[in-house]
Symmetry: C2
Subunit: 326 residues, 2 copies
């Protein structure tokens, strides 16, 4: 069943590949909505992915992520790159329904044309926020955007799951880090490929840089990697510092290629993504089948069935399939 005037997703595929902004926006909406009709088109688009450098930017609320992303967009588009941004931070000005960067101050038409900014609704994703967000990244990748920046707030399982899918993970810490153990608690510091201390013009910034460097000197290197995570201080007012950060992000991408770490990282990211997608589908199964669950529950309470059979029925699995043969 299709709505009148609804353009079938498979017709959007060549338009997305040719870079049509409208087609990209539509495909992302369909991924976000979890439409069955779009799944073949998304699978088709996935074949054209794997070219983009995916950069995750995360940090505690108030670290200055949105300001950093806006400065990065400017720095990167000036260099002539087509920058994609997918924001899933509910506190971000890019989020809350702001589509196509209408709330980002685009300095000129060229910049607006070369950047595609999309915020994801942070609720109501059938099949999970993280899988839909990564599909949005796929669409931009297939459309030729690179780098693609994923901006998420660094707290919560969904957010960590999303940013972990990036090739390069940038963790942003505000000055005064010592007072705020949230980042350490959330475990996001240890996944950083690049540490950024924001608001470098503030006097506390130097102490934050020193604290991070001290922590990095003590901790073990990321497993299987020869990359030593650098600490970069930035102020959103300084274009020079932003160019240094851009260069560091590029350097990490180059490192992944030259060291051969890229293949292992992509493989690991894909494994995590498949598992998480399945986990979200499993959760969704339960959320969607509230009536079935109530029916099965009543049958268990009445002793008409047992919990094992009820669980199998809810998963739509054949009981025998997942049990060991004697």
């Amino acid at each position: 069943m299709t709505r009148a005037g609804y353009r079938p997703s498979h017709e959007l595929v060549p338009l997305v590949l040719s870079g049509s902004r409208l087609a990209i926006a539509r495909m992302i909406s369909r991924a976000e909505g979890g439409y069955a009709e779009a799944s073949e088109a998304l699978a088709e688009l996935y074949k054209h992915t794997g070219k983009a450098h995916i950069v995750g930017i995360t940090g505690v609320p108030g670290a200055g992520k949105s300001t950093l992303v806006a400065a990065l967009i400017k720095s990167l588009t000036q260099g002539g790159r087509k920058v994609g941004v997918v924001a899933v931070d509910p506190s971000s000005p890019f989020s809350g329904g702001a589509i196509l960067g209408d709330r980002v101050r685009m300095n000129d038409a060229a910049e607006a044309n070369q950047a595609f900014v999309r915020s994801m609704a942070t609720r109501g994703h059938l099949g999970g926020l993280a899988p839909a967000t990564l599909q949005a990244v796929d669409i931009l990748d297939a459309a030729g955007y690179s780098p693609i920046i994923i901006e998420t707030v660094g707290v919560g399982q969904d957010e960590v799951e999303i940013v972990s899918a990036a090739h390069t993970i940038v963790v942003l810490s505000p000055p005064g880090l010592g007072d705020d153990i949230q980042a350490i608690k959330a475990g996001i510091l240890e996944i950083a490929d690049i540490h950024v201390v924001s608001k470098a013009d503030k006097p506390e910034a130097g102490a934050a840089v020193a604290a991070l460097k001290g922590m990095l000197a003590l901790g073990p290197a990321r497993s299987g990697s020869t990359w030593a995570s650098p600490v970069v201080a930035v102020s959103s007012v300084s274009g020079e510092q932003m160019d240094k950060l851009t260069a560091t992000i590029d350097k990490h991408w180059k490192h992944l290629h030259e060291s051969g770490e890229l293949a292992a990282r992509q493989r690991n990211n894909s494994r995590t993504r498949i598992f998480n997608t399945a986990r979200h589908l499993f959760q969704q199964q339960f959320d969607e089948r509230a009536d079935d669950l109530e029916r099965q529950l009543q049958a268990v309470v009445n002793r008409e069935t047992d919990p094992q059979s009820a669980a199998h029925a809810l998963l739509g699995w054949n009981q025998e399939r997942s049990q060991r043969e004697i």
Copy 2:
């Protein structure tokens, strides 16, 4: 396919119902092993459950759980009851392969005859430790045992999941509780229907009782319940104190019946059990299908399929089924 000499599970059902210790032990082993052949028999036995009072006993390692359980077995069997014990605490003398209470000092033949003690292997359960443990409880319930005591160490998701399936949750705290915040960290204090302070002969026991009473006075009552969790001090050397604990456990069971809280609790426990069983089955699917996962992963890395389709394939689901129609 059955092994030569293997007695089919359905033939064990009437033997379990008549109380055969050998049949009970065999059925529990089959639940533990996750044999497909046993699932119908387990479902059949489940119909005969719902009579037993299930008592969960938990507490931090070193609290004295095993000593308490041994004293409870003695107190309860002297009162003429058929006591079932399922221990899933890896540090328990009942566990680690001790079958049929051979490591419990049974004082006389009558006691040994009236108690059925079974430890569960804490590893290698196909489909999860918790679901298998609760099936063992079902088997004892169907065989006419009551109360059935589940002993678990109160740390770890599995353990909390298991003890939460009880009607009456006893949380055991050692004296010197103030020094040990493990119980509070694990969140098990708040699920207690009865608090027990062990080693009441020690001078610090009084302070532990006072600390618990203070905490209970401050905290909210368990949602939807009019039961005020009492604090009982016991020493394993005192039969008098053990009788008081037994009476308190019985009083809680009576309260659940008379207040009407039993139905809501059983319903809630069943809902949790179904969900957790499904979650374990989901996890097992991945553990068992390592080869399929590798194949799907390689296909995703090669862009022959996409992560969404791979997740669906691994779950054995039809992709369309779990996506929204437009």
